[in-house]
Every structure is written in structure tokens, then in C-alpha cells.
């Protein structure tokens, strides 16, 4: 009986935890964005280069409820959020929910592809180095550290110079077709592959020298057989555990990558929204990102349990 309740309790805990995270994000953003100097009313009126008239500012403050006391604005904001209403963007004059719905698929596609490519690169490198001895391990470790240390903006610039300007193989900006995705995906995937590769290679090496690997070899299994049939699952475990974190990393990387490659997406939306003090839009994007992060964390929990039988009995 108690065992049957466990999953229910687990889900309940996750849901409550997620609700708390979302509330905290909404609250932090609401007060945080107001601590930055600057007048949202002026931002609404076009900010740079436009000198807002007093009448226009007053009109905007009335329209957007900015003339209300701060706590009243906060309460109204929470009330709207609870009803599922993300409000209207100041800067793009559209419902935030519509904007996010338009921009989310691009970012999700970019993040998912990057995660996949990072996984493949990391596993490939870890497998290759495990099968090829100490020297290969040193090379792999060097590559991983270098990749993990590379900042996105630098990598993006180098890739554009190399593959767009010099070789002319790939477009430097979003073209709407698949080839426009390659450079942004590589930009996001390489540093992540460096991180994932480091942990995967270590646990793969550990697995290869563990007793079960030894007994597999004793049964006559070849090195690559041991690797693919036995060690791979062990190497994947820390990778899965890290994937939730990796997804968060990709979302923040998207801010830079979408701006550089001029791709539409949540990252670029967030950057513009922060610059323009577009409070509803910043809140909306942050909430959706937090929600996505919570979901991916839960998914990686489930995946980890599936891949590691030891966790199921715990």
C-alpha cells in the first residue's frame, strides 16, 4: 500500500516544488526589474531618441496601471498570473502568451538539437578515448576542457568567419531552411559537449575497470562489446543527470546565439524585453523558461530511474 502511494507523493512534491519556483521567479522579476533605474513608461514610448511628452507619459502610466502603488501592482500581477493571463507586452503590443507561443518552437528546436548533438559528440569522444588508451584520454580531456571553456559569442564569431565568410558553405543568419540551423546548433553544442564529455568519460573509464566489465571480458566479450553493451549505460547516467542543468544552460546560451545569428526565439525576445523594461514579457519568458526547466528536471529524474535500477528501490 505504502509502495503504491510513493509515485503519487513524488508527483505531488514535484508539482508543489514547481509552483513555488514559479511564484519565486514571478516575484523576483517583478521587484528586481523595478530596482534597475529607468522608467517603464518611457520605455513603452520608444525609449531611445524619443522625448516623451508629459501627457503621453501620463496616458501610458494610466493605460498600464503604472500609477498604482507597487504592492497593488504586484497583487494585480499575481492575480493575473494565477488566472493564466500573462498580460500584454509593452514593447510588442501583443499578448505575451501569443508571443511566447510564436517564439518558443524555434528555441525548443535549437535547444533540443544542440542537446542531441552535444550528447553524440560527448559519447563519441568518450568511447573513442576509452578504447584507445591513455594518450587518447589526454587528447580527449584537452579537447573537452577547451570546448567547455569557449564562450558562445566567440565561438559563433569564429564559425561565421570560417564557414560563412571564408568557405561560403553556410549562411551566417537564419534563412528559414535547415542549413541556417547548423552554425547555431554547433555553437551551443560544442561547449556543452565539453562538459558532458568530461563526466561521461570518467564514469565510462570507471565502468570499464569494474568487476562486471571484467567478468564480461572473461566471458570472451571484446573491448568494444563491453563498452557498448555494459559501460555505455553507466557513462550515460551522469549525462542524464546533467541534462536538466544542460537545458538551462542552453536556454541562457540561446540569448546570445539567437542575437548573433539573428534567429527568432525566446532568448532574443528576453534580451529585447529586458532592454526595454518590458515587465510582462520578461515575466512571461522567465516563467515559461522556469517551467520548461522544471519539466526537464523531472524528465531527467524519470530517465535516470529508468536507466539505473538501483534508484528504483531507493
Amino acid at each position: 500500500m505504502a509502495d503504491q502511494l510513493k509515485p503519487v507523493r513524488w508527483v505531488l512534491a514535484k508539482v508543489l516544488g514547481a509552483a513555488f519556483v514559479l511564484w519565486a521567479v514571478a516575484t523576483l522579476i517583478f521587484f528586481g526589474i523595478r530596482m534597475i533605474p529607468g522608467d517603464p513608461a518611457e520605455a513603452i514610448l520608444g525609449g531611445p531618441g524619443s522625448q516623451a511628452s508629459p501627457e503621453a507619459l501620463e496616458q501610458v502610466r494610466r493605460d498600464y496601471g503604472l500609477d498604482q502603488p507597487l504592492l497593488a501592482q504586484y497583487a494585480a500581477q499575481l492575480g493575473r498570473l494565477i488566472r493564466g493571463d500573462l498580460g500584454d507586452s509593452y514593447s510588442l503590443r501583443m499578448p505575451v502568451a501569443d508571443l511566447i507561443a510564436n517564439q518558443l518552437p524555434g528555441t525548443l528546436l535549437l535547444s533540443a538539437l544542440s542537446l542531441l548533438v552535444a550528447w553524440l559528440l560527448a559519447l563519441g569522444l568518450a568511447g573513442w578515448s576509452t578504447l584507445n588508451g591513455r594518450a587518447a584520454g589526454v587528447v580527449a580531456s584537452g579537447l573537452e576542457i577547451a570546448a567547455a571553456a569557449v564562450p558562445h559569442f566567440w565561438l559563433a564569431s569564429v564559425l561565421i568567419l570560417l564557414f560563412s565568410n571564408s568557405l561560403g558553405w553556410l549562411p551566417p543568419v537564419n534563412t528559414g531552411s535547415a542549413d541556417g540551423l547548423i552554425l547555431p546548433v554547433v555553437t551551443l553544442a560544442l561547449p556543452l559537449a565539453g562538459f558532458l564529455g568530461q563526466v561521461m568519460r570518467e564514469s565510462m573509464l570507471a565502468a570499464m575497470s569494474s568487476p562486471f566489465a571484467l567478468s564480461a571480458r572473461a566471458r570472451g566479450e571484446g573491448e568494444s562489446g563491453v563498452l557498448f553493451r555494459h559501460a555505455l549505460r553507466h557513462a550515460a547516467l551522469p549525462g542524464i543527470a546533467l541534462s536538466g542543468w544542460a537545458f538551462g544552460n542552453l536556454l541562457s546560451g540561446a540569448v546570445v546565439v539567437e542575437s548573433i545569428f539573428a534567429r527568432p526565439g525566446l532568448g532574443r525576445t528576453l534580451l529585447n524585453a529586458v532592454t526595454l523594461r518590458d515587465i510582462p514579457l520578461v515575466t512571461g519568458v522567465a516563467l515559461v523558461s522556469a517551467l520548461a526547466y522544471v519539466l526537464v528536471m523531472a524528465a531527467s529524474d524519470v530517465a535516470e530511474r529508468a536507466a539505473d535500477p538501483r534508484l528504483r528501490t531507493a
Partner: protein, 552 residues
């Protein structure tokens, strides 16, 4: 949010390498078709324009009113009057005008037979509706509202005759009406909700807004019935291009790479390094179109110490080596200015003799002003206080080359004993620092057609902050003599007298060392050689593609 990839030092060699690559590619392709502007224009094709400016929040430039809106709306909206390359006002949607003896009423005759792209005729009622729209607080217009500030009422005398009544004479009225922020839209379209009108304003221009994909692009298609070019400079009949795709590519290096790759044909906000790099290219051409209004300048805040002392102001101006910095950091793409006004303004007055770099003179002036001692760091001190200058810099408004230039100022001013504290801020924080009077130096661009910008920047009325805390007179000059000159100039239509008044006013600003002029407000466009006929409107220097055509 500060962006690390803005660092200019990294961009310079990168761009140079990029250009080498393009030259190589061009060499390989065997020359391609000659694309000099010689040939006969051909119709057809889609032009892709990549802007580095922010995506407008509303495509109707009456709402708010900033430069990104001016850039794009110049393709589909047109104002009542324009300017020719000599800076003279020429007819556009208004064919003629007349002002009364007392300057308090103006009569405009509108062009016959012009229709908005929704079929509504251009008549006096339409223009009246536009003026009222820009003046309506519900529109939340800033720039347009200021431009129409003196218009008390508009009245349709007959279908094509409009009478404007002013609260006081306005010698800048025609210049104001030439700006894209008060361009004329279909009155029928203006009756829609602001949401709808922001998404697709309806005008008389050579293109029509077709589709706006947020964060991505705006598509505009040719207005087949176009019939209203300005009095000079444009060909008659519809545009040559079928359509324009207006893309938003914020990152400068990507924008240039996209241009080189041929993904886009025109880019704006070209940075000095890319302009320089493009000079050696057969494939890429350069259009330099400085913006009107004020020059880019440092404002010296005269309202508080140490710049309340004119000697300290002059000492600072003499202590910074502007010319060397500009020529090394801008690669010869920016010409040094010695005027408060842009060089495109016919009434700009310059005085180079006031602004020579002279460290000895700077030291002498500071000694005279009582800043005689120096502390261990080499900065001057007086009464235990260091000679410190707070310099908030807006990273949205100052390009990387300009930020580097300010760092050079910091270094050269140190030799005279100034401690310049550069503070890189995003736009809202920057406005915040200004509103709190927490600055000694600041650089703030201001785009406006005509010398009346001097009144906005230097009249003491402009030291009074708006409810937002912002004020335009950032050097905080308060001079009765200057106020009187500027007010009189704004009411004087007689050309010679107007010129004399503005010259006197500029002399006071320059000789008082309230500003340090740097260069015109930079506005560089790069385009591929397959595009011909790219030009900028001589009003606020926005590009126009009515005459543009594509070869091959």
C-alpha cells in the same frame, strides 16, 4: 545587460580577415556583372535590408517616435514637405504653402489626385486627422507631438486646402513637417485600434506593409499606383523593386557577414571597421548619410562643480586629444566637427580655433582655477577634493568605437590631472543617472531637421525635467542672452536674420565651452553592388528604395 562581444578590439582584426576572404571570393568568381549605376533601371526582385536598430514596437511613427520607426516608415509613409540636397524645403504631399504676415497662420495646398494605398483620397480632412492623431495623448506620441507643439488647430478650408493656426510664430514648422514622425497616414486606417494601426500603417509611399513577423522581418510590397514622389530627386511612377524584406539583425559582425554572403543586400549601422574594410571591396559599396540636427558632442554639465567654472571646462576641452582618437578609432570614416549642429544643416556654425588640443594651456587654466595640488595618483585636488568627472555612457547610443574614444579621452585628460570615471550603462540606467544630475560629462545624440534643435538643447526651459526626469539641456546652460536669441530665432522666418540669430547662439555655446563637438551623428549604410539607386532622404537621412533596382 552588457554584451561581451561588443568589444571593438576583437572585431577589428576579425573584420579585416573577413574582407580578405571576400576579396578572394570575388577574385574567384571572375568579376561578375558590372553593376555601376550606369545601366537602365530594371523592375523586379526582392531586396533584403538588414537593420541593426531595434525592432520598432509600432510601425506607426506617430506612436512614440524613434529612429528605427523613421527608418522603416520612410518606405511606406510620406510627409507634407521634404528637403533637397542644399537643405531647402521642397514640396511633397503639399504642393505649396503660405504663411500669414504675423506668422500665426499657415495655408497648405495639398497635391491633387493622390490616394492612400487603401483608396482613401489625400485631402485636407485627412491631414487634419493626422495632426490631431499625433497631438492626441492617447496616441502617446513623443517626437511628433514635439514637432507639432505650436499648432493650435487645423481646419480644412476646402478639399485640398488646409489652414493651420499656431500659438506663436514657428520658423521651424516646415522643417518639423518634413520629418517622418509626422508623416501622413490614411485617416480611415487611423480610425482602427492602435494595435491594428501599429501592425500595418497605411500611407501614400512607394511600398505597402504586407506582413510583420515579430523578431524576424517586415515584408513590404510595391505600391503599383504610386504617384506622389517629392518635387526633386525621385523618378515618376511606381518603384522598381517588387518587394523589400526588412530584417532585424542586431549583431554588427553578423550583419556584415550576411551582406558579404549575399543573404542581404543592404545593411545599416555599419561600424567604422566594416566601413573601412568595405572600401577595398568591389562587391560592397558605402553610403555615408550623417543625420541632421545636433552633432555628436560631449556636454559639460555647467550646473555643478567642477564644470561650473568656465576655466575648468576649457581646461578639459584643451586636455583631450580628440583628433588623434577619431582618426585611429574611426579609420577616417568620421569627420571631426567644431559645431553644435550637424554638417548637413545649412546654418551650422563652426569654430575650430576654440578646440585645439593643448596640454600646457589646460594645465595653466587649472592652476588659475585653483586646482594646483596633485595627489599621489597624479590627479589634481582642491580643498581635499579630487578633480573627478562622472561620465555615464549609454551602450545603446555610443557605438564601440565611440566607447573606445572616450577611454582615450580618459587617458589624455589624466595628464592634465582630470580623473574621468567612465560608467557604461544600459539606456534606462543612463537616463536614471541623468535624471539624478549624477554626471559631469555626457554624450547624447539628438536627431531633428533644422537648427531649432539648438533651442531644445540649450534653452534654459529644457533644463526643467519632464515628469520622467529627463531633460534635453544636458550642459544645463542657463543664459538669458542665449534664451532670447533662440526664442527670437524660432519665431523669425526672414532667412538672413534667422541665420544671424542662430550664429550668435552657436557662438555662445561654443565660446562658453559648454560642449566639445566630436563629429556628425554617424549613419553609414553598406550595400552590395548589384543594387543601384540607393539613396538617403535629405531630411533625417533615412534610406529610400523608390529608385533602387537590382541587376541580375
Amino acid at each position: 545587460m552588457s554584451f561581451p562581444f561588443r568589444t571593438p578590439a576583437r572585431g577589428v582584426p576579425a573584420a579585416a580577415g573577413a574582407v580578405a576572404a571576400v576579396v578572394l571570393l570575388a577574385g574567384c568568381s571572375g568579376g561578375g556583372g558590372s553593376s555601376d549605376n550606369g545601366g537602365e533601371p530594371v523592375s523586379g526582385g526582392n531586396l533584403v535590408y538588414a537593420t541593426g536598430d531595434a525592432e520598432p514596437t509600432c510601425l506607426d511613427p506617430h506612436v512614440g517616435g524613434n529612429y528605427p520607426q523613421a527608418l522603416i516608415s520612410s518606405q511606406y509613409l510620406e510627409p507634407l514637405v521634404s528637403r533637397n540636397s542644399d537643405g531647402e524645403t521642397i514640396p511633397w504631399l503639399a504642393s505649396s504653402w503660405e504663411q500669414s504676415e504675423d506668422g500665426l497662420s499657415w495655408t497648405f495646398t495639398l497635391r491633387e489626385g493622390v490616394k492612400f494605398t487603401d483608396g482613401t483620397p489625400l485631402d485636407a480632412e485627412a491631414v487634419k486627422a493626422n495632426i490631431e492623431h499625433a497631438q492626441d495623448p492617447a496616441t502617446a506620441s513623443s517626437t511628433g507631438y514635439l514637432a507639432l507643439r505650436k499648432i493650435k488647430s487645423a481646419e480644412a478650408v476646402d478639399t485640398q486646402t488646409l489652414k493651420l493656426t499656431l500659438s506663436s510664430p514657428d520658423s521651424a514648422l516646415l522643417e518639423s513637417l518634413s520629418m517622418p514622425w509626422v508623416a501622413i497616414q490614411s485617416p480611415k486606417a487611423l480610425e482602427r485600434s492602435q494595435e491594428e494601426n501599429c501592425a500595418a500603417p497605411v500611407g501614400t509611399g512607394p511600398f505597402v506593409v504586407d506582413k510583420w513577423v515579430k523578431q524576424e522581418s517586415v515584408t513590404m510590397v510595391r505600391n503599383e499606383d504610386y504617384s506622389a514622389p517629392p518635387a526633386e530627386g525621385w523618378h515618376a511612377g511606381p518603384a522598381y523593386l517588387d518587394s523589400i524584406t526588412w530584417r532585424f539583425i542586431p549583431e554588427s559582425a553578423t550583419r556584415y557577414a550576411a551582406l558579404q554572403a549575399g543573404e542581404v543586400q543592404v545593411i545599416d549601422n555599419a561600424q567604422p571597421d566594416t566601413v573601412k574594410a568595405a572600401e577595398g571591396s568591389d562587391v560592397i559599396k558605402h553610403l555615408d548619410a550623417p543625420r541632421p540636427g545636433a552633432s555628436n558632442r560631449l556636454e559639460l554639465n555647467s550646473s555643478k562643480a567642477p564644470f561650473d567654472d568656465p576655466k575648468v571646462r576649457e581646461a578639459f576641452v584643451r586636455s583631450v586629444n580628440v583628433n588623434d582618437g577619431v582618426s585611429t578609432l574611426f579609420f577616417g570614416t568620421a569627420k571631426r566637427s567644431y559645431s553644435p549642429l550637424s554638417s548637413v544643416e545649412p546654418l551650422a556654425y563652426s569654430d575650430q580655433s576654440l578646440f585645439g588640443y593643448d596640454l600646457e594651456e589646460a594645465n595653466r587654466l587649472l592652476d588659475e582655477a585653483g586646482w594646483t595640488a596633485r595627489d599621489s595618483a597624479g590627479y589634481r585636488v582642491k580643498d581635499g577634493k579630487r578633480l573627478t568627472l562622472q561620465f555615464p555612457v549609454s551602450t545603446n547610443q555610443s557605438i564601440p568605437a565611440e566607447q573606445s574614444l572616450f577611454e582615450q579621452f580618459q587617458a589624455t585628460a589624466k595628464e592634465a590631472g582630470f580623473e574621468v570615471k567612465l560608467n557604461l550603462l544600459d539606456l534606462s540606467s543612463w537616463y536614471g543617472a541623468l535624471a539624478e544630475n549624477n554626471y559631469n560629462l555626457v554624450s547624447a545624440p539628438y536627431t531633428k531637421v533644422g537648427p531649432d534643435v539648438l533651442r531644445i538643447l540649450f534653452h534654459s526651459d529644457s533644463t526643467k525635467p519632464a515628469p520622467s526626469g529627463y531633460f534635453a539641456n544636458l550642459s544645463q546652460v542657463k543664459s538669458d542672452e542665449l534664451d532670447e536669441l533662440l526664442t527670437k530665432a524660432s519665431e523669425t522666418s526672414e532667412p538672413a536674420e534667422r541665420e544671424r540669430l542662430y550664429e550668435e547662439a552657436q557662438k555662445i555655446v561654443l565660446e562658453g565651452y559648454y560642449i566639445l563637438p566630436l563629429y556628425d551623428q554617424q549613419n553609414h549604410f553598406l550595400y552590395r553592388s548589384e543594387v543601384s539607386g540607393v539613396k538617403a532622404l535629405p531630411t533625417v537621412s533615412t534610406p529610400t528604395f523608390h529608385d533602387a533596382w537590382l541587376t541580375n
